[in-house]
């Protein structure tokens, strides 16, 4: 036991990732590779509570480092909202909204391609969730007009759209849903975990009441961290202050992101704000990549032509190979890693998500060539 303990402790002192420097096409990670500025901020503000050097009671009002300016000026402008704050992540923002705007037993309506955390947040808040059906295989599209009849039927306290969804990367008509939300006067949340920080998006332009983003998914930040924007009229409910401690917001438990990830979010922000301007190039790259992989016999699910870097492929021929090689499903991960590519998780071969956001055209050519070589090797 002592032996075991010592070994464990040694292991903890030497934590390493196995794939620094690989071509990264893993969807969770391509939007959160740190900028050089964020890497410096990470080290500078590594010590616990170093962000609080000059705090006078409210995290988002700290002016050194310039959190106040970031949260109250730059972020609202970027999100197209009136009031913004920072959170531990997109899911924590969504729970916060549910917890402050609903009561247990209330109903909410969400897209059928919502992230699992939408369901778990609703479960934590005791809510009844109605899902808008998607179009099914192979596109899995959401027609936002389907929200209307469900709103009439269920009188929801909130509606939510995942934009894009995190599985197929489909971009639903968020603006049309904004019209519907306004028509029925129901508060509308955009879950932009895969859009805020990757592509241009404006809460006001969409006509939503709330917008949620993820620092560690799409804003070049260390995890966990997120952003939340809203219309001013919701501030006094969602960001209500404690009766006992007037500087402290109840839903935030005083302060949320009191540490390192916030500083990486801020340090990366200038580049993140800039990169969304090149979104069309990202979309063109994703479409080109999809065509190339389909030429190999992979089948892209979701919308075509695709409008996002997040792509889902069915790859039955890779699965077939896994059935007859010694490494079984692990052969693909091994083959890709040997070629310097970090993509599908170990063991996965039948279908998987990839993201073209972080890799350039040349790297993606190499990815295509690698898949081709792997198919040839085992054919």
């Amino acid at each position: 036991m002592e032996q075991r303990g010592s070994k464990s402790l040694r292991k903890l002192s030497e934590l390493h990732r196995q794939h620094s420097g690989l071509i990264n096409i893993m969807p969770l990670q391509t939007g959160s590779l740190l900028t050089e500025a964020a890497k410096k901020a990470l080290i500078e503000f590594g010590d616990g509570y170093s962000v609080c050097d000059f705090c006078s009671g409210t995290l988002c009002d700290i002016s050194n480092p310039p959190i106040r300016e970031f949260v109250h000026e730059l972020l609202p402008q970027f999100l197209g909202c009136e009031v913004a704050t920072v959170t531990h992540g997109a899911r924590e923002a969504i729970f916060m909204l549910m917890h402050s705007l609903t009561k247990p037993g209330d109903s909410i309506i969400v897209d059928g391609t919502r992230h699992y955390t939408t369901i778990v947040s609703a479960e934590r808040a005791g809510l009844n969730v109605i899902e808008v059906p998607h179009s099914g295989y192979p596109e899995f599209k959401t027609d936002v007009n389907d929200y209307a009849s469900l709103i009439e039927k269920h009188n929801p306290k909130l509606i939510l759209l995942t934009y894009p969804d995190g599985n197929y990367g489909n971009i639903a008509d968020a603006r049309r849903l904004g019209e519907i939300a306004q028509e029925y006067a129901v508060p509308y949340i955009i879950n932009g975990a895969y859009s805020v920080g990757r592509m241009p998006i404006s809460m006001a332009g969409i006509g939503a009441d709330f917008i949620v983003g993820s620092g560690h998914k799409s804003m070049a930040s260390a995890g966990p961290c997120g952003v939340l924007g809203m219309k001013k009229k919701w501030e006094e409910i969602v960001l209500r202050r404690s009766k006992t401690y007037p500087k402290k917001e109840v839903e935030l438990l005083g302060c949320t992101l009191r540490g390192t990830p916030l500083l990486t979010l801020m340090a990366s922000f200038p580049q993140v704000q800039e990169r969304v301007n090149y979104w069309e190039e990202q979309v063109t790259k994703a479409q080109w990549f999809s065509v190339k992989l389909e030429e190999l016999g992979f089948k892209q699910l979701g919308e075509k032509p695709h409008k996002h870097d997040l792509l889902y492929f069915e790859t039955p021929m890779l699965y077939d190979i896994s059935q007859r090689v010694r490494e079984r499903g692990y052969f693909l991960h091994k083959e890709l890693k040997e070629r310097g590519i970090w993509g599908p998780q170990p063991g996965v071969t039948k279908s998987f998500k990839l993201s073209t956001f972080a890799a350039d055209r040349e790297q993606l050519e190499f990815v295509v060539a690698s898949f081709k070589a792997i198919l040839n090797k085992y054919s």
Copy 2:
């Protein structure tokens, strides 16, 4: 406006702390200075979601990096509990307990010296809070026997003790309260934000049901992060799984600490586990420091002789100086900073908290000499 925006953005790309390398006696920060191993982990796992390279659905079950072993083996042993998990911080753990074990309108009993986040968490959970009165000036001690009659009167769903409290650093008789909790069969939370990682503490030894710790306050970690330990019998309530997603814990919204701070917590753990063995030396050092500052005319509030590195001083002579110098209250911060000391926040002179945890005896001698020199300079 454009000008303003560009300046703001430049500022974000160059975030600096103003006092690296100073002698740190600021209580929020002395327990969370990163170890060298944690600094390395910070860089290695800086990119968002890099902790999830090999995730198969549950953060605390990831074996590479060895989160599973840390959370399910090392942490329970360290906390003296049966089941452990990681959280965004102590306050988030406390809210999670309140949210899963109470209903709005329920009562809880807490010490009168509880942290503000206990009150804000209870407000978020809709609870009625009864505070056990402390002994008042100058000691502010809690007699845990006072919980008994309040338990009889209010039939609380939870009781909580802050151990030590975060203002005076008083160590109440937590073990006696464990007996009382068992006698009345009421779940008992130890808020160990200033004890777990600094001093030896065992949930089982105390007889508590839950123990909460703070990575960024006392476990040499980047913020925000925390730990939560409990008796096995509470696992199926507090860590209940989603009905739709059986791998996901509802109160954790699936995963909490999905990022960098967790890796610093793990990397520092071997040294944190070791350092609690030297707690007696820490206490002796704090007592010596308190005597030295009292010789200068400062008055230490809270228990005497003191049993923790967190010390509260009344310093009326510094306040008197602030009334007649040009810099007003800011003179003290400036004088200390010029001498290489990071302590009371800018503007504070009348009374303040200090912590002797991170500074060695020689550095503290220098702090004492500096206070003396400052008093002389303005006398």
